[in-house]
């Protein structure tokens, strides 16, 4: 791999100013990259953090808490409200929506994802999605004058938002078409506990149901079984699709996500991708997946900066996927695989739940609910393939931290 930093006439262009794009720019500067660096984003704001948008921001509206820090130095050229229109891989140019072009030696796609929409509800007033600060503002403003929030989709963002609205005193309803919550991201047993938790907090959750119509007059939604539920505001949170059109149009290999290897390389020389938009090999499943987590956007960007700036020491990025989701007072954390042929539970003294999955005797996944203390240590067992047994883990007197330390030292 060539040394990027030895040549300071290089120019790097990053498309997308979300967490991954911001972090890459930030890490390159920190590692002493001296060439040109341009960060192109289509939003009007300085780079900001998205996790609070469904939670703290809904409660307090404090935008000053959102900005990603430390701010990028002036040597990073930041273009805002500028959309990238086309990549010319041969001429190594990026065309922007104002007709200008940016030349690049290395181009990085950090274009993220956008929420899926429901065709039957499109273009209806008070039907929103949540991805950007603009979306979050609209939701927050609308929640001020409606009595209820209907979230379609029982995934992390929808559940976080439903919990926030409940905290704000709104009637919260969640309609999920599968028979459980968080089917793509959390173990089934943990999802059952979350379901109980949210219901106990007064959130109405309908599983195995879909919304077929909205009644503007009564501000209700009609479910597929004919039930009517309050729907002052509707937020659709049924997943996302990758903003990969820019890459696909340039002939770069994509499938709802830009394919990258462990070095963040796409199929086009000189073109890289990081963050939610990528489709990368999940080290636990072996499959190419989109890993739509904060930790991945951050980690992949850091890894690419390291690969470029310290190529001799660089390693392929293969971090264990993990995420957190703070839903009201429920703190969910999941790492690794969400299934395994063996699983065991612990309930700690404060009622926190810890669920570990094993496959072929090795720990492949950890999920905790209000047990943040044990999550970090147990997560460490997933990478090195050190292990503890279900019996050790489940023993009532077990000290999880000591067990993990012993296993890692063995």
């Amino acid at each position: 791999m060539s040394k990027l930093l030895s040549a300071d006439h290089q120019s790097v262009v990053i498309v997308g100013a979300g967490l991954a794009g911001f972090n890459l720019a930030s890490a390159l500067v920190q590692r002493g990259y001296a060439g040109e660096l341009t960060l192109v984003g289509d939003e009007p704001w300085q780079p900001y953090d998205r996790p609070p948008l469904s939670k703290q921001f809904q409660l307090d509206g404090d935008e000053s808490q959102l900005w990603l820090l430390p701010e990028l130095p002036p040597k990073v050229k930041q273009l805002r409200q500028r959309k990238a229109m086309a990549i010319d891989p041969q001429r190594q140019e990026l065309r922007l929506d104002d007709g200008s072009t940016l030349p690049w030696d290395r181009l990085v796609l950090a274009t993220g994802t956008r929420p899926l929409r429901l065709a039957q509800l499109d273009a209806r007033p008070r039907v929103l999605t949540l991805r950007t600060l603009g979306d979050a503002r609209a939701i927050r403003e609308t929640l001020k004058f409606v009595a209820s929030l209907l979230v379609i989709g029982g995934g992390p963002i929808g559940l976080e938002l439903a919990a926030s609205a409940a905290e704000l005193g709104r009637q919260s309803i969640v309609v999920e078409k599968s028979m459980r919550l968080m089917s793509r991201s959390a173990p089934a047993a943990m999802a059952d506990i979350l379901l109980e938790y949210h219901r106990s907090r007064g959130i109405a959750i309908y599983l195995g149901r879909t919304v077929v119509a909205l009644d503007e007059g009564t501000q209700e939604a009609v479910l597929d079984d004919g039930q009517r539920v309050p729907a002052g505001l509707v937020v659709v949170g049924i997943g996302v699709r990758a903003n990969d059109e820019l890459a696909a149009d340039a002939g770069i290999a994509c499938d709802d996500g830009v394919f990258v290897d462990g070095w963040c390389r796409t199929s086009a020389p000189g073109v890289f991708a990081v963050g939610d938009v990528t489709r990368q090999r999940n080290p636990l499943t072996g499959r190419f997946e989109r890993i739509e987590t904060w930790a991945n956007a951050q980690g992949q960007a850091q890894a690419l900066a390291a690969i470029w700036c310290n190529p001799d020491e660089a390693r392929a990025y293969e971090a264990v996927p993990w995420f957190w989701s703070d839903q009201g007072s429920a703190r969910l954390q999941c790492a690794g695989a969400i299934t395994g042929e063996q699983q065991a539970w612990r309930v700690d003294a404060a009622g926190g739940r810890v669920l570990v999955h094993w496959s072929a005797g090795l720990v492949t996944g950890v999920a905790t609910l209000n047990a943040t203390r044990d999550f970090g240590p147990l997560k460490k067992l997933i990478v090195p393939r050190a292990t503890i047994t279900p019996e050790q883990f489940s023993a009532p007197e077990a000290n999880i931290r000591a067990l993990v330390q012993q296993a890692l030292a063995a």
Binding site: L69, T372, R373, K379, R401
Partner: protein, 116 residues
């Protein structure tokens, strides 16, 4: 007044195991996290600067690095510097020393400041 008046006891050193995280309270009621690493004692704010989680309750110490349990961000307990994401803002640190088996907040000006 003895010279001891410029020290505030945080906790007994016996309550802070090497590699574990101890707990003390400032006069204003705020909780601080106390660490014993290779025989040296350090103290920082208890609240992670990112997610408002308690380091003494949910944190994990490895060498000089404390990891917050909530989002796995890390800090160097010697300087308070944020060293791992998502944390970016430093933790406040407090100068401490061990006197007569007590972990003492030991900076005169800070002590005066906190006593107000």
């Amino acid at each position: 007044m003895t010279s001891n008046s410029q020290f505030i006891p945080l906790c007994s050193i016996d309550t802070v195991a090497e590699g574990a995280i101890g707990m003390g309270y400032l006069p204003d009621g705020r909780r601080v996290a106390v660490y014993l690493v290779e025989g040296n004692v350090y103290a920082t704010d208890d609240r992670c600067t990112h997610g408002n989680s308690s380091l003494t309750e949910d944190g994990c110490l490895e060498g000089h690095i404390v990891e917050c349990g909530m989002h796995l961000g890390t800090f160097d307990v010697r300087t308070g510097k944020a060293v791992g994401p998502p944390c970016t803002q430093a933790l406040r640190t407090y100068p401490v020393e061990i006197r007569d088996g007590q972990v003492m907040l030991s900076d005169a000006s800070l002590v005066a400041d906190l006593k107000v």
